[in-house]
Amino acid sequence: MLKFDVVIIGGGITGTAIARELSKFDLKAALLEANMDIASGTTKGNGGVIHSGYDPNPSTMKAKVNCKGALMYPKLAKELGFEYKNTGSMVVGFEDKDTEVLNKLYENGKKNGVPGLRIIERDEIFKIEPRVNRAAKYALYAPTAGIADPFEVAIAFAENASENDVKIYRNQKVVGITKNDEFFNITTQNREYQARFIVNAAGVYGDYIAKLVGIEDYEIKPRFGELLVMDKAIGFELNTVLFPLPGNRTKGIVVIPTVHGNIIVGSTARMTEDKEDISVTKEGIEELLNGAKHLVPDIEKRFLIRQFAGLRPVETNTNDFVIEASKKVKGFINAIGIQSPGVASAPAIAEMVRDILSNEGLDLKEKKSFNPYRTPILDFSELTDEEKDELIRKKPSYGRVICRCETVTEGEILSAINRPVGAVTVDGVKRRTRAGMGRCQGGFCQHRIVSILSRELGIPKDEVLLENEKSKLIFGKMKGQEESRE
């Protein structure tokens, strides 16, 4: 039996941020993730905007953590070595009457403590972002907004937590929880864990986990949303995140630069029942393209390289984040219903959960050995020619380019596999290195990545998975013989 002070259930951005926060203290903590890899739930399928925080109603939990979380990003990016860009954002209005909505957002933002908000006009709009539709008239400019790759952030949190002794267990799906006076007994498909405190960060399954300990108060339903990725070959990069005027439920179709120079268009929004289905629809793709062209007319369909989707975990009673200690079950803390802006808010949610745990009786003593820094996977393509040459001479694997579209070398892939919480699947390699994320979508390199994973993990090629447990890519050798197991 594995015994811990705290067990976090769920390895999305919420759970990993909490794990990293708790790794600062002298305590035993573990994170359990059901899937083969962390950051493979909602955290892999979203827009990656670090919203500045003018949007949530000031009375909500979202308002408490959004602005604060966004302001924590620059420092975190430095410590954890993930890519973050402080791009700012604009909500673009096209008519005089739109200033009414913009002013409301402005006032709201001030109440939430968002710094530097301004209403700007044409000249300044086009100076900040020349690609905006020329019909734009007014915009709410939020200088503290930014962008990050959400899974890169979550992976960075998890790696750093792991290096500071939080145990990260993947492929551990929680199926049962019991409680006696002192601790919880947590059962997964094949193991048991013991914990004094549980943090529930299970995304769309947050209500299910709560029910396992008898808390019936929450209902989480997915709000489905689709996104598009445009090829870098579109020939321009955006300087800032562009929003239309907000719709009823969502922030409308947003055009987002990524830290790697692509453009993301997101997101549609539709309530669904199915907590697994992230199939994209034809209608969704059309809606996104139209919305994007409205803000940035230069966006063209032919530069589309990928469509994907995610499920926002919506707590239906409150339509708000639920970050609280259960009153019914002592020691059970929820961090659920983390819909948008969950990525922006994650660092602040983690601090809030830390404080709740402390209030509930967890002893937080700072750990002297805590190392806040993480060395990221080296990005070969960003090095100067001299640096590249020197690196290859030391480590020849950096001279073998595996993914040609994104120029990812074998050295980077080895580093992704052989670090703490390393990649175990083809998609895991992709999320950590970008190999297979470019315009050929793995057409040229997937088989090479399969070979490397097979070699490094010591498993036959036909056991190398795309992403989930059953996502088999190949079925063994063609010519009748089984793959030999070395």
Binding site: S279, T281, Q307, G399, R439, F444, D462, F475, M478
Partner: protein
């Protein structure tokens, strides 16, 4: 490491090999840079016969065809660097490449682009639905099976009737993998007729025209697809959806020239084909940078690729001697039924025939090739059948070229 060559060829497929051989014949120092561990390009995975009928007047497999050129390259002692990936080209033809020994800088009198093409992906054609494992591009599947000896599934649907898809339909069948059918969006097949016959009909694999995959089903591994018939505007017709169970989907939906590297050097591309805009010397807008093979435009037959490579090699040699830049005395303009022409520009001061390649945008029976100048029709061909799946080649005689200035309109027209 710093190197210096008269001619550097990027890509060691059939186009690059032919270009290198011709450049070497012209007494130049020549280097081939190839990313893979062997020469031959895509031919290495094309283990089927059907190569070389025009060039060698005999039928060879892909590797056999490549071998003849590779042997020549070896006999002529042409320098080759394998496992070496070019990562940058500058306007002044300085090439940066990496291999596991380090970073190379190569100064080059002329550069020949021969990087081939990549396959169009699921994302580019926007198939709705889930994103499970088991969706492969046809060439990718060909590599898994022919080079890696890996089984990719048990029951396959093939979307797109491009040649690679057709060849893979036969290959899968021979390997005991069931092929439910080949589904094609257009009302006509995209591959060569001989492949329809030899790869589908001979194996009783059905081909469904005006039909496409409208949804992919399956969370982890693909479990099925929904196919629908499409109308004349290629929109799916409601009510025609049909679910087909399968564990594999192959996409054979087009090839795209790989010109991201060319863009770094400032090479202008045709936005419809993604291939460089060249003159009849195959020179791009950047002086001394030439293009040939699938990186220039997607070829059906490797024989044409080799010929084009040879021309690029010869012209690179001439460039080293006379430094003549891309000519644009005559611009070839496409009429409404043409997708593109290669070349785009013609240098007027020539005495040889100019080979022009083009593709039509839709099938036409009894269409006539027409060539017009600003003054009117100057040439009309005999009625013929034209198909988008067949690249057309014709010769522009010097006597036509000498008569026109500035622009020539090329088209295929019906009923004239």
């Amino acid at each position: 490491m710093k190197l210096k060559y008269d001619v550097t060829v990027i890509g060691g497929g059939p186009a690059g090999l032919a270009a290198a051989i011709e450049a070497k014949k012209g007494d130049c120092s020549v280097l081939i840079l190839e990313r893979n561990e062997e020469l031959g390009g895509i031919l290495n995975q094309c283990i089927h016969p059907g190569f070389g009928l025009q060039y060698f007047k005999e039928e060879l497999t892909g590797p056999e065809y490549a071998e003849r050129f590779i042997n020549k390259v070896n006999e002529m002692n042409i320098d080759v660097l394998l496992n070496t990936m070019v990562i940058n080209i500058s306007k002044d033809r300085a090439i940066t490449a990496v291999n596991d020994k380090g970073l190379l800088k190569i100064e080059s009198g002329a550069v020949i682009l021969a990087m081939g093409c990549r396959e169009r992906t699921r994302g580019a054609i926007m198939i709705p639905g889930a994103r499970p494992a088991g969706v492969f591009m046809a060439g990718q599947a060909q590599r898994y099976i022919n080079m890696e000896n890996q089984k990719i599934g048990n029951k396959a649907v093939i979307l797109g009737s491009g040649d690679i898809g057709l060849i893979m339909a036969r290959r899968l069948t021979l390997e005991g993998i069931e092929v439910v059918g080949v589904f094609e969006l257009m009302p006509y097949p995209n591959g060569l007729l001989r492949n329809i016959k030899q790869c589908l009909e001979d194996f009783n694999i059905p081909l469904y025209l005006s039909t496409t995959v409208t949804r992919i089903i399956g969370k982890d591994r693909i479990e099925g697809v929904v196919v629908s018939r499409v109308d004349e505007k290629l929109n799916p017709i409601e009510g025609t959806e049909e679910r087909i169970d399968c564990d594999t989907l192959l996409l054979s939906v087009g090839l795209i020239p790989e010109n991201e590297l060319s863009l770094k050097a400032g090479v202008e591309l045709n936005t419809r084909t993604n291939g460089p805009l060249v003159d009849n010397d195959l020179q791009t807008n950047i002086p001394g940078i030439f293009a040939c093979g699938n990186v220039l435009h997607v070829h059906d037959l490797v024989d044409h690729v080799s010929r084009e490579g040879e021309l690029a090699g010869q012209k690179a040699v001439e460039f080293i001697k006379n430094k003549k830049e891309r000519g644009n005395e005559i611009i070839l303009k496409c009429g409404k039924n043409l997708v593109y022409t290669v070349p785009k520009y013609i240098t007027n001061t020539i005495d040889n025939l100019v080979n022009v390649y083009f593709r039509v945008s839709r099938p036409m029976n009894n269409g006539c090739l027409t060539i017009k100048s600003s003054k009117g029709l100057i040439f009309k061909g005999k009625p013929e059948n034209f198909r988008p799946n067949k690249m057309v080649k014709f010769n522009l005689p010097p006597k036509i070229i000498s008569k026109v200035s500035e622009e020539l309109y090329i088209d295929v027209e019906e009923g004239i």
